[in-house]
Every structure is written in C-alpha cells, then in structure tokens.
Amino acid sequence: MTQTERPAWEPEALGAPSFAVSITHLSKSFGQKRAVNDLSLNIPTGSFFGLVGPNGAGKTTTLNMTTGLLMPDFGNISILGQDVWSDVNRAKRSIGVMPEAGQLFDRLTGNQLLVYSGMLRGMKRAEAIVRSRDLLAAFDLTAAADTMVTDYSAGMTKKIALATAMIHSPRILFLDEPFESVDPVSSANLRDILLEYCETGGTVIISSHVMALVEKMCSHVAVINKGTVRAAGTVAEVAAGEDLEDRFLDLVGGRHSAAHISWLNGGGEDNGEGHAPVHPSPDLPAQFAQPTRFAHPNQPMVQPLQPAQPVQPAQPIQQPAQQPNRPSRPAVPPAAPTQE
C-alpha cells in the first residue's frame, strides 16, 4: 500500500516507536470473502504476543500482510515505526518469518539452508557459517547438519525453519503455529530460546490454536474472529479473571450444546432409524471386511506402567526465575486495539 493511497483522515503519525507492530484499519478480501475487516492492533515491543482465533479468522492473512507477503486492500501496517509497504524489502530485513514446512528449499542440508538464509539477507558467508553452527547447536540439530532437510522429521523441520528466521538476529519474529508437531522436549527448548530472545528486547508474535500454550507462554494476546480483533491486551486482561480458553469461546462463539449426530454411533446398538451401515460395504478391501476386534471393555487397553526403574526426579527445564508462572512484564505497555 503506497503512501498516496492512505485516506486523508488518517493521522500522519504511524504508530509510536514503542510498538513493534502497529496495524490500522487493515482490510483484505479474496473475491467476495472478506478475510480481514478493518483490523487495528498494536503489538508492544518486547512482548511475547499470541494471536488466537478459530480457523479462517484471518490470523494468517493478517500475518502475511504484516510480513510483506500479501498486499493489503486497505489500511496501514508499520513495523518499528516504519511503513511496511512503502519499502517492503527494508521491513522484511528487520523481521524474521518462520517459513512453513513446504516453504523451505528442502533439498539443501540443514547447514546449507541456514547459510543460504543468512546470505540471502546480505550476510557475509563467513558470518553465516558461524551463526549456522551456533543455531544448529542451540536447536539440537548438529547431528543432522549434513542431512537434507527433506529427510528431517516434522519437528526437526519446524526447528530448522525457525532457525532460518533467526539467523539475521531480527528484532521481531513472526511464527505461525511454531509448536505444532514438535515433541515436548524440543518444544521446551524452543520456548527457552524464544523467551530469552524476548528478555533481550526482541518481540515474538505467534499464532496458535492451543490456548493452554498461549496462556503459559505469552505476555499478550489478541483474539481475532471474522477478520477483526475481538479483544487484545495482556493475557490477564483478556482472560478477565476467567480461564483463557473459556473466555476465548465466549468471544468467538460458535459452541453449540452437545451436538448429537444420530447416525454416528460407534457401531454400538442400532438406533433404530435404519441408517447405521454396520456391515462393511462390498467395495472395501478384504482386510477391512472383518469387523475389527477391539479390547474387551473390562480389559484395559494399555497395560499399567511397571515401575521397573526408580523414576527420575523431574529436571527443571527452565530457569527458576521464570517459574512457576510467567512473570508479568511491567516494562511493556499493555496492548489494546487502537482507537480512532
């Protein structure tokens, strides 16, 4: 969006520098569908910001426009006080965006991919090599440094993708579902890296569906639904004394009481409506033709764990200072949807 397209009534000042990202009146339509509808949001510098919302709420669309990958129809976005779309490449160099798994050059080895990601940002090769080594070590990928990324597991791919977004030490990190399909150990390590990055003044913006995770990690949260911000602020402010997930369901709506699908009966007794095709269809392959035998209800499906070895006392994963709850961040101003 160029400067000239900004409407006359828009104030000249584009978001104070205390905001890492400032979005005003952002709109985007795909054909008839309005994905983002007059969305305004300020994201404070140094915050760990969670963007939550149901599927199709406009989270990814908003993030794509903020990171310069999708042209807005209308509205302004500034990053660290600079308009994104007036010099989109400059804005991109100050941020790090985690690519999706399918958006990596996955025929490169992990090491090559990181060096590439650094050099693409104008970094000298020698520096990129050093940083790649550090990142591989930090993400427990040193052993996989010379393996092609296409042969990585989903969790490893996520980690290398995150590393590509961090190699140039950006001031803001944009992560779309960063913990999806990452195992608990890697996820805890990832979290440490991100929290430490925040401590040093970086801003992390994640989108997620997992409320528990957002509640645990984020300092701030914005609930997005139908292309607009329904609530934004610190996690405590948005939760307003409730559980964040309950609050989210209140704000977003769409919960209906105990939906009953008459024909979905798990193969138990026939509901008498003549619809339940308990018998396998003749088109099914032979191995499905026999009704599968599940464990008898009286038999436990899983054997209880035998305490063969004494259980190790749990190691504290994070620094004690950050336990048990996320400390509040007084240095950070509360986020709120910008007022007109």
């Binding site: 989109v88 490449n89 991109k92 999706e100 090559q112 050099m119």
Partner: protein, 558 residues
Amino acid sequence: MATALRIMSLRWALTMAALKKSAWQTIGYVIGLLCALACVAGASIAFYFLGTVPNLLPVPFTDQLTMGAEIVRIVMVLLGSIVGILWTIMPLTLSGDGSALEPRRFALYGITDRSLTSGIILSALFGVPALAALLSLLIGVSAYRQLGAATMVTAVFSAFIAVILFVTVSKALIALAGTLIRSKRGQMILYVSVFALFFVALQVPSQMLASGGDGESSSGGLEWVLAFPVLSAVATWCSWTPWGAAFQLPFDVAQGEYGIFVAHLAICCVTIALAYVVSLWCLRRDRLQGADSKVTTAKGLSWFSRVPDSISGAVSGRLAQYWQRDGRFAMGLILPVLLTIIFAIRARQNPVAMWTAPVTIGLIYPLFESNNLAYDGRAFVMHAVAGVKGSADRWGRARVAVAISVFFIVVTSLIAVFMAGGFTQGVEPIMTLTTAMGGSLGLAFAGIGLAEVLSVVLMYPVPSIDKPFSSPQGRAVSQGFFPFFQMIGSVILILPTAAVLVAALLTGSTVLLWLVGLVGLVNGIGFLILGVYLGGKIMDRRTPKIIETLDNFASLQK
C-alpha cells in the same frame, strides 16, 4: 465399476473447477481443444485421401491386396506405431502423467485397487487426447472404404482397441517408472535409454530407405519403388508389436487371414491385460510399501562455498545445488549431451551440419530457465521473507544458466571444429568457430535474458520435486503454449545478429563474417542485462502475486 465411473466424473469435475478458477487455464484449455479439433480435422482429410489410393493403384501386390491397399496398410501400421510409441513413451521423459488423479489421494476411502486402477484408466480414456485420437480414427475409417464393409467394421473395432491399448500402456509405464525409479541416477538412466530407443526408432526408416535404394544416389520415384518392399516388411514387422497390432486388424480381415487376425488381436488383448496388471501392481506396491526412507547426507557447504559472497551468489549456489539434486533438472543436463551425439552422428558425412548443435543448444537451453520460479515452488517464500531484491534473484539464476549454456556451447563448437579437421586449415576454422560460437552464445544469452522476464510473468505448473513423472492438472495444455513465447522471443531478440550473418553470406564479406561473433555476443549480453534488470523490477512489484500463483501450483501438485 460404479466407483470407477465416479472417479471418472471426478476428473471432469476437477477440470471444470480449474477452468472456473483461472482465466489462463480456460484460454489454455480452449487452445488445447482447438489443437485437438485441428488434429482431428487434419487426420480426417488425410485419411479420406488415403482412401482413394487403392483405386489409383489397382495393381496386385500380394494374393489378396492390391498395391494401393498395401500402401494404405503401410501408412496405417507405420503411422499408428509411431504415434503409439510417442504416446506411450514420451510422457516418461517430457510431459509426465497428465492426470490429476493421484492414487494416494484415494488412500483413505477404502477403494479397492482394482476399482481405483480402472477409474484412473477410464478417466484417461475420456480425456481430450484419447477422445481426439478415437474420433480421428473413427472418421478415418473412410480410408478403408474401398476394402469392403467387413474391413470397415473391423477398423471401427480396431480404433477402440488402439486407443484403449495406448492409454493403458502409457499409464502402466508411468506408474512403473514412478514406482521403481526413485533415485535421480535411475531417472537419468531411464531418460537416456528412452531417448536412445527413440532415436534408434527414428533412424530405422531412413537407414532402411538408404539400404533399399542402395547404390542409386539419385533421389526420386525409383528409390521409392525400390524402398516399397522394405517399407512393407517394416510394416509387417511393426504389426507384430503391441503398437502396430491394432492397426493391422482391418487388413487381416481384408486379406481373409482370420488366423493371423486372432493372433494380432491376442497381442492387443494380452498387452492391455498386462498393462492393467502392471498398473494394479504399482498401485498396490505404492500403497503397501510407501515411500523409501533413505536419508541423504552431504558434507559441507558444497556449492555455497564456490559462489561469490553475495546475495546473488547465494541464489546461484542454491540453484547449482538443485541442478545437482533435483530430478526435474536431469533433462536439462541430458538433452544437450544427447543432441550433441545425435548431431555428431548425422554430421558424419557433412561436418558442417555439426554447427547446428551449438545453435540448437543456444535456442533450447533458455527454455529450462524460462519457468525457473515454478521449480522453486512454495520455497520461493524464503526469498520473499528475506527481502531479496528482484535483480539479485534474477542475476543469481542467470549466472547458473549462463555457466551451463557456455559450457555446452563451447564444447559442441569445439567438437564441430575437430570434426571438420581441427585448426590445421589456416584461418577458416577459427572464423567459423567465432561466428558460430559467438552467434550461439548470443542466442543463449538473449534467451536467458528473456527467460528472466518471462519466468516472472508467465509461470506454468511443473511436476512436484518428489514425483518428477507426474504432472499437475492444466499443465499439458498451457505448457505447450508458454515455451512457445520463449522460443519465438529468443529468435526475435537475436535478429540483429542474424541480419549481420545474412548480410555476410549475401555479400561474401569476410569482415562481416568475423563481425557476426562479436555482434552476437554484444547482442546477447545486452539483452541479458536488460532481462535481468527488467525481470528484477517486475519481480519486486509482483512478489505477492508470484507467491499466490506458486501456492496455486502447489495445490495442483498434491
């Protein structure tokens, strides 16, 4: 069978949906349809006139067939076999599997392998190419109109058999390649062997003709008369292959050779059955065994340590690495080598012919560059999020394309010089070398410059990197269409050099001839720089649109 029919209707629903979504797809599709109609019309007319031949030459040839009827037989069987070979083998190397029905997508529905295979074959049978071929052959029954009603009825029957056979065999071969050939080395071997086979097949008729008219160097009617028994023998030989058998059926009836008719029919049926079983086996193997889980490792930075330490250098390094690891680029490396070999064989008698090799490579090579972003696929987002300037991206890619084309052109040019006797004959070989090499390099550079612009504007879907033999929907139609712009454009851009060459040849001026190489280089480098600059500018502006397009392509590949 009901499932198979439903799969077939799904295929058309997918096509319609793709058309609804994009104007380009629709245009491409309409052009494809027009081409198909033109083919049908052309074939129909040709077959009609072929049908008049038996009357023109009522001379008896064998006991049952006249000379004219034998000509019809030779044409039908030979042409049918050539089309059949093209149809069944070429998809392996060039166009890939044209259908959007990836069996893996049906994995969750518990459809039997048998229904799924039948469905996929059926949907290919009701695709545009198969229908066009069937229509041509059915109208083409007029070619048999002087050979009796029974022959014509058999021809209708054989038209169906031939189309079904080609479709099933083509599907089976693609499935087999996709299932068995997972490594890039395997792909290379397949490409080379298919091309070698193809090349030999193309050489056979001309070699036969040459031996048929032996001693008689003068061309003309006499040679053809002498060649006639040879062609007749070749046709008979072809009729015993799966590609020619179906086309022989009407003539077996015309000759009253019902035993041989049954034998030919058996060849067709066995081939179809075998192809079906092979498709089924591949499907089952893919479903049960899944993909190979071979982990590839490579030490160090490889290409990244050999490129300039800059953004464009990084792009070059990545691309060079992909040329090495990406199976889809294999053809780009093999084709120049094969072209060189083919031209070298053809140039044994006349060494000047070898000079067509560098020129052809200069013309064809930029084609591989003209759709470079589509080969990146969604990974292009990495460039976008890094804020890579369009000019750096374009220059990084152009560098690799220039390096590869320079290598091939210089090598083929030197081969041409040595085939003509090396540098021993004074200044003339050097002049030919500079002229041809300079001109070819100019052609390649100008083409690459054009490609750097076209690849940002006119993208078309490519196979996914994991399945180089499959092709996304809508590709076959639009692909025959966009590279055309690249070829024509290259030729137009090199016109200044061509003008100097023509002037040199007309005036016989050696000075002008010496100049051709220089003008070619300047011409090419000029357009290369312009292309990189313009392509970069357009790319900067179009990045969001490019990402959207590449996302669409990715959804076609799944």
